[in-house]
Symmetry: C2
């Protein structure tokens, strides 16, 4: 099989179409809400989480059409979290992916409700398919990753850490919750598509996803310091402006880069027992840790 790299763009197009088909039409009532939901999710984004879901599927021999629903669901949860994180009462961001944030474009009330409805849609999509055991597994995985002991809990930790330098262990826990859980869910939902999957294989993929999630966040922090705003679509230095603890702030640039590399190495190591089948996931980890946007 050719390298995953040659198929990544096609998967990005695939999930864009799948999302467009699953989101309510922009002219269906209530139109303002549906427009805001589509604006929040469509037309941009790296689609890292759906790509990880499809790459895990290739590794396990699962057809892409079995994974369109979980790939969309994890991206919808990601989209909902961005809309709410950007709100004035939270990070108060005006720009995301180089465009006005949802509350800037549609108002705060509609942004809150669009985020709410995107979360609901994610779970509704998973509940709308079969087979039941696989779908319930995906729903448990996604709910666990999204809720108070996952992404949303991480957002609370993030807000409460603002303006003070936190210990590295706390930053790692914050990252694990805020971004790591959802990246891990992208991989584990593909595993859930095969309820009979060998526990060792699932564990290897879990370990891979956990370290890849950490590498992703460190790279994100580094890009905020040294990235090109024209590529990232975000104002640089936003973390420092918000008084956020980040890997470069706590460790320095060089040590933060090394920490990302070591997480990458551990992710690669976890894939070893899976052999050549795991090439798509190797490519994804490399892309995540060396990306420039």
């Amino acid at each position: 099989m050719t390298r995953f790299e040659t198929r990544a763009d096609a998967y990005v197009d695939r999930v864009e179409s799948a999302l467009a088909a699953r989101l309510p039409a922009g002219d269906a009532a209530p139109a303002s809400l549906h427009e805001a939901m589509r604006y929040a999710v469509l037309g941009g984004g790296k689609r890292i989480r759906p790509l990880l879901c499809y790459a895990t599927g290739e590794t396990l021999g699962i057809a892409a059409d079995e994974l369109d629903d979980p790939a969309c669901a994890v991206e919808l949860v990601h989209g909902f979290s961005l809309v709410h994180d950007n709100l004035p009462a939270m990070d108060d961001d005006d720009l995301r992916r180089g465009r006005p944030t949802v509350h800037k474009a549609f108002g705060t009330a509609l942004a809150i409700l669009a985020g709410d409805a995107l979360q609901t849609l994610a779970f509704g999509i998973l509940a709308g398919g079969t087979p039941p055991a696989a779908r319930l597994g995906m729903l448990r995985t996604l709910a666990g990753a999204t809720g108070s002991t996952g992404m949303t809990g991480g957002q609370v930790m993030d807000l409460e850490a603002e303006g003070r330098a936190i210990p590295i262990a706390e930053l790692e826990e914050l990252n694990r919750l805020k971004t790591g859980c959802l990246i891990r869910a992208a991989v584990l939902m593909a595993c859930d598509a095969r309820p009979g999957l060998a526990p060792d294989t699932r564990q290897a993929l879990d370990t891979y996803a956990t370290h890849t999630g950490l590498a992703f966040q460190i790279r994100d922090d580094l890009l905020d310091v040294e990235g090109d705003a024209a590529l990232t679509g975000k104002a640089g230095g936003a973390d420092a402006a918000h008084g956020k603890s980040t890997w470069p702030a706590l460790l320095g640039l060089e040590a933060a880069r090394e920490r990302a590399e070591s997480a990458y190495a551990r992710a690669m190591q976890a894939l070893q027992p899976l052999g050549d089948h795991a090439e798509p996931l190797r490519w994804m980890a490399e892309r995540i840790v060396y990306r420039d946007r």
Copy 2:
């Protein structure tokens, strides 16, 4: 069997305990979020939706312990919607059930995130149980009732109707979405516990729930005008202050009362084929349309 009235208080206690057990402990990290979630949901509320779920269960001969999860899930979605509806960017309410609203007690950021996590918990609880077919049915029902073409869509219609007198048909559609869908879901999730339920029976219960939901909302509007704030726990006249279209505002008090009575009559009529088994649901509809809080 004795009248449902003699068991209603025990069901309220039952769902309170079930919610307390399913919500994360208030001292588990992140503690502030978990405290806000518990504050939002526990210690008050009429528990109309869980009661409807259990009453439907009695009508269909389903044991209460099969319905604790959907009863909690529908109440958690209701709780999440109250937290977000009360936010400054939405209805900007200071009091709910006679206590400070969540954003007044915990701040706006935490209120947004607590609402988010309550929604996730609702879906997570349903996904955490068996049998799979019944649970997937409940998840589909709840997601459909909660999302952009259900409760959240109704909230958008509500915001967009502020400050103008809308036609009665639009008010009925707004009510159907904003409060009706979730009340209907409380009844239909109990039906989902029996995937083999006769379609006629499900249809009868659906019709009952639809009219009961309308009666509930009209009564709510009436209580806002003529209710006793000491009983309702809400400031009276809030609808008028928000420039909201309500049944008494559009029809007058007397005609609004008649509209509630006719919805009640149609709910009762729908139960006729179910005979004496439906007594719990008859009592619930009566309680809903004649309640004073």
